[in-house]
Symmetry: C2
């Protein structure tokens, strides 16, 4: 058989540990706190069905024909209002493009800006899918330690002013994946100021911003941007439905133009049905009410997960309470081997993700695990946290 | 404003001339022979609506939730039968993955196999989107002259044995874009033999194979493949609907696994609604009857276009008659400036694509234009070919 020889950039990619974990989840008795799926209860399924039926009763070309690469003008126009909900990120239609999930922004931006061996700065730990996407385009990664209120600013400046200037800095300021941390207003301003000072663009990824169930919205870093320095990725997977693979991206017009050329060379355009459904939802339904309902679903589950953890493993397993998103970052007690704990939980049919999986350097010492509350049912949250207690009791 | 500096690979991309042409098409009085859109009459719109309604009445997670990167097991299983319609290209589910349009195969394969400056061999002229996709991943291109019955074999061997061995050879054997040429059985075998001899994989792109309206099907190059040397891309855009952005890819399991990792880093998975609709169509409708109907639509239009051309510009503008696909490759008479002819036609509200746009080297002397018959109506075919005669009369 022919032996394929892979490019250096692909050799640098790491197989996703989450993907490996997911394979084990075919076992229906397994409880998963390891995934990141939205609660299907939160999907506007009825509305999507109504819209889809109307669309497919109309002229077929509107939903089934080839469309333009940057996305339908209607969705880009409608999208501006919703993109700006937490602060201004886009003014005109040409500031916006439609992508097939926000992961495409990471793929295209790193392809556009990185030659082989170029550096991308990232908060550390960070969203695994982003890191792999960057690596797949030949980039090397420089991690900036993430604190509960955002990146360590001294470390960020050190990375920005190092021997090799990063091509951009990657961050999820709201309810970060994996830590759940939210960057404070002060640090948002400081991050923008530092990046501006050193001429390093920012990729601001905001998949969870709408999922704030308590506290006040903070403005996006993009809202401070007067230099065209920030590229803003807005997943719609958590607000509508991830199976649609539709997200919005806002940025300076010239860059959006180049991103469009990259998209043309990849998937030509995003699924048109998904684009039309979302544009009709924006036009004809009460989006604010939908978001309120969705926040209610997540609030209830997050609070229940935090209550269960406090009751069953409180004082031993610690965490920063979260105000939104999908994830808790749990710190295991000193002396408990984190990897062994995750393994033992899996033997007891509970899946968690070992925290080191999210670090730029997978060998970084780590006592934390990522814990998701959006996918499991209330009953599974109860059962799973009981397993966490039992396994912990057995190891201490 | 911040000035972005783009990577070398992106600088090598050429803005699509077709894209530029399409922008002018906002003018509703323009007749376009320049596009490559399927006839909306050929979409199974009624069936898609029925299936979609059933799907969206069922559990939302089946259509709206995150799904697996390689595509739904059901679509991959169902797909095998249809992939093998013109000869065996896939045996098992793991030989197949779902992609968001076959362009993604070009993106991922060139990303997987090419370091910066690596060579890809391609028939020349070739599908423009493929060439740009290859360039976007840092590849250089080596063209192999395309003859009416397939590539010039001596030139192919020269490229395969040159100083720099190509990472793969790219070909559309059926009703090629832009020339409409179909590779003969002898040349298919010879291409496989040469590539096997020199250890160069083949990317066989088959977007138009199902659109044969006369003559006999020829076996795919992939059907000769015992070495895992051929990656087969099957667009479903012409068979179902391009707005869905769903295609299938068949290849050796290990490579499909790597393609899946690349896809995970780009769009995570393809639109789930589109996957489910196609899988249900395969399961519950008469696919063969659908293809027969579709071939009827294209046969009628192609024959009408060829009749109009013979009647109005016959003897002056020549072409090889085609047996399928969407394109005719028209050769202008010596002494008529091809670029000036295209420009004059556009002034008379008819869009054609200048043939040099499809060559690896855009400066290659070229007397041909690409002419599409699937997008215009019968009336537009009549009017447009009249414009071609009038402009030609004025220039000769």
């Amino acid at each position: 058989m022919f032996q394929y020889e892979y490019s250096n950039k692909v050799k640098a990619m790491r197989p996703s540990i989450i993907r490996e974990l997911l394979k084990q989840m075919a076992d229906p008795s397994l409880i998963s706190f390891a995934g990141g799926n939205p609660d299907p209860e939160a999907f506007p399924a009825k509305e999507i069905r109504e819209i889809s039926d109307r669309l497919l009763s109309g002229p077929p070309g509107r939903v089934l024909q080839y469309s333009i690469t940057e996305g339908t003008t209607e969705l880009r126009e409608q999208g501006i209002k919703y993109l700006n909900a937490q602060g201004p990120v886009a003014k005109e239609t040409d500031d916006v493009m439609v992508v097939s999930g926000s992961q495409q922004v990471m793929d295209f931006l790193s392809k556009l800006l990185c030659n082989d061996g170029d550096l991308i700065a990232t908060e550390d730990p960070a969203f695994l899918g982003a890191l792999n996407s960057f690596r797949s385009n030949g980039a090397r990664l420089a991690g900036v330690a993430l604190e509960p209120d955002g990146p360590n600013l001294a470390m960020l400046e050190a990375v920005l002013t190092g021997d090799q200037k990063p091509k951009f800095y990657y961050t999820i300021p709201n309810f970060q994946n994996p830590t759940g941390a939210t960057c404070s207003l002060e640090k948002r301003k400081a991050v923008y100021k530092l990046c501006k000072k050193h001429g390093v663009p920012i990729l601001e990824d905001n998949p969870y911003g709408e999922l704030r169930f308590t506290g006040e919205d903070l403005p996006p870093i993009k809202s401070f941007d007067e230099e065209g320095l920030v590229i803003y990725a807005a997943s719609l997977s958590k607000v509508f439905a991830p199976g649609m693979r539709i997200a919005l991206c806002a940025g300076p017009k010239a860059l959006i133009g180049q991103m469009t050329v990259a998209k043309q060379g990849s998937d030509v355009h995003s699924n048109l049905w998904g684009q039309r459904v979302i544009e009709e939802f924006y036009k004809t339904y009460d989006f604010a009410a939908h978001i309120q309902r969705l926040r209610g679903v997540y609030r209830e589950k997050a609070n229940y997960m935090m209550d269960c953890l406090r009751e069953k493993v409180g004082g031993r397993i610690t965490f920063e309470p979260i105000e939104g998103g999908m994830f808790l970052w749990l710190n295991l007690p000193e002396g408990v081997d984190m990897q062994a704990y995750v393994k033992k939980c899996l033997e007891h049919k509970l899946a968690l993700v070992p925290g080191n999986a999210f670090f730029v350097d997978g060998e970084t010492p780590c006592q934390s695990v990522r814990c998701n509350f959006s996918t499991p049912t209330m009953e599974q949250i109860d059962k799973g946290t009981t397993i966490m207690r039992e396994v912990l009791d057995g190891m201490m």
